[in-house]
C-alpha cells in the first residue's frame, strides 16, 4: 500500500512541478516538488520509503524533464535515504526541520547536478540554486503535513 501511495504522490508532484504556473515562479524558478516530497517521505516514513520515493521521483521527473537519470538517482535516493535515517531523532518530527532539510537537499541536488551533469552555462547556477532551495523549502511545509497524514499506509520502519 505504501508503494502505491508513494507512486501516486510522486506522480502528482512531478505533474504539478512540470505545469507550475508562470505567475507563481520566483525569478523564473519553480520549487523542486519531487525532491521535497522525497525528503518529506523519508523524514516521515523511514529510510526504505525514502529510498523508494527517491527512485520513483528521480525516474518520473527525469523522464518528463529529459534530465540525466544518473545524477537524479544519486541525489534523490541518497537524500531520501538520509532523511529517512533521521526519523525518530530529536526535532525530526517538526515541520521546520522538514523545510530546512528540503532547502539543504535542493542545494545538494543542484551541486550533484553541477558535478555529474553540468548545464551548458553554469554561471547563474548559484543564484538559481539558492532561489530554488528557498522556494522548495517554503512549499515543503504542506507536503510534510500531507505525508504525516499518510503515515498510516506505511509500515513502522526498521534499520536496514
Amino acid at each position: 500500500m505504501g508503494f502505491v501511495v508513494t507512486l501516486l504522490l510522486m506522480i502528482v508532484c512531478a505533474a504539478v512541478q512540470s505545469t507550475w504556473p508562470a505567475w507563481l515562479r520566483v525569478h523564473s524558478q519553480t520549487p523542486h516538488l519531487t525532491l521535497a516530497a522525497v525528503i518529506c517521505l523519508g523524514l516521515g516514513t523511514g529510510g526504505a520509503s525514502g529510498l523508494t520515493a527517491g527512485f520513483l521521483g528521480a525516474l518520473l521527473w527525469g523522464s518528463i524533464s529529459s534530465a540525466t537519470l544518473g545524477q537524479l538517482f544519486v541525489s534523490h535516493m541518497g537524500l531520501g535515504f538520509f532523511a529517512g535515517s533521521l526519523r525518530g531523532r530529536v526535532f525530526a518530527d517538526r515541520v521546520l526541520v522538514a523545510m530546512l532539510l528540503v532547502g539543504i537537499g535542493v542545494l545538494v541536488a543542484s551541486l550533484v547536478e553541477l558535478l555529474l551533469a553540468p548545464p551548458p552555462s553554469p554561471q547563474p547556477w548559484m543564484w538559481q540554486a539558492l532561489v530554488r532551495a528557498l522556494y522548495s523549502a517554503a512549499v515543503a511545509a504542506p507536503i510534510y503535513l500531507l505525508v504525516r497524514s499518510l503515515r498510516r499506509f506505511y509500515p513502522e520502519p526498521e534499520t536496514l
Binding site: 506522480i11 512540470s18 523522464s63 537519470l69 544518473g70
Partner: protein, 288 residues
Amino acid sequence: MLRPTRGQSNARSLVILIVLAIVLTVWQHRARSGQGSGESRRSFPERVAVGLVWPLERGLAVAGSAARQTASSLARAHDLAARCARLEKENEELRAQQLRLIDALVENQRLKKTLGFSVEQPPPAMAARVVSINFSLGRKRLTIAAPPGRKLEVGNIVRTAAGLVGRVAAVTGSGQRGEVFLLIDAEHAVAGRVALRSRDQGMVNVAPQPVNRPDLLVMTKIIGRSDVREGDMILTSGLGEVYPAGIPIGVVTRVERSAAGTVDLRAYIRPAVDFEHLEWVLVERHGR
C-alpha cells in the same frame, strides 16, 4: 525455513533499487546515443514514466489555463462595471445639459416672439435607408430610399446623429431613390470652421492618400489666425449655402504647417461619420 527479517528485506530492496537505477541510467544513455530524435531518444522506462504522468499533467495544464481565463474575465468584468458607472454618470450630466438647452431654446423662441422676430422651425427630417454603397477609388456615393409617402429632392442634406454624410445629388423614381454625394468623394468640398475656439474657416475635402487607408479629410485655405490644433472639432460653416452651419464634419487628428511659417496650413480630419457602416441616415431639407 527461516523467514527474512524486515531489515534483511529492506537491504534487499536497497540493492534491487540501486541495480535498477544503474540499469535505467545505462538504458537512457544507450537510447540517447542512438539514432533518431524526440520520443525515439527516450528509453522504454522513460516513455512509461511519461505516460503515467501525462494525463494528470494535461489535466493540470487545462485547469490552469481555465483558471487564468476566469481570473482575467473577472478582472475585466470589474473594469467594465467601473466604466459602466462612469458612463451612467456622464449620461446623467448630458441629460441635465439637454434639459438646460431645451429651456434656453424655449426662452429664445419666446424672446424672439416678444421682439417680433419670425421664429424659424427647423426643416423636418426623415430617416432614409441606405440601399447601396458605391465606393471606387475616388468616387464615393450612396443610394438611399425615401420612406413611404416622402420624397427626396436634389440638394437635401444627408447626415447622421454623428455628423455630415453629404447631399443628395440626383433623384430617381419620382424622388423615391436618391444618390448621395458623400463628404469623402474626391470631388466633394465643403466650407468648414473650427468649432468654439478659434472659429477659423477653410475648405474641407478628401485628403490624397495611399490605397487601403481609412478616409481622411483635409482642411486647407484656412482663413483667420490659422489657429487649428489636434482635437479641434470642425463644423460646416454655412458659407456657400450648400450646407447649413453647425453640422459636425470631423475631428482634427494632425496639423501640418509649411516650413516658412503658418500661412500654408493643412489640418487632417477624421470624419465624424463611419462611412463604411451606414445603414440609416437622416435627410433634411436645406431651408433656402
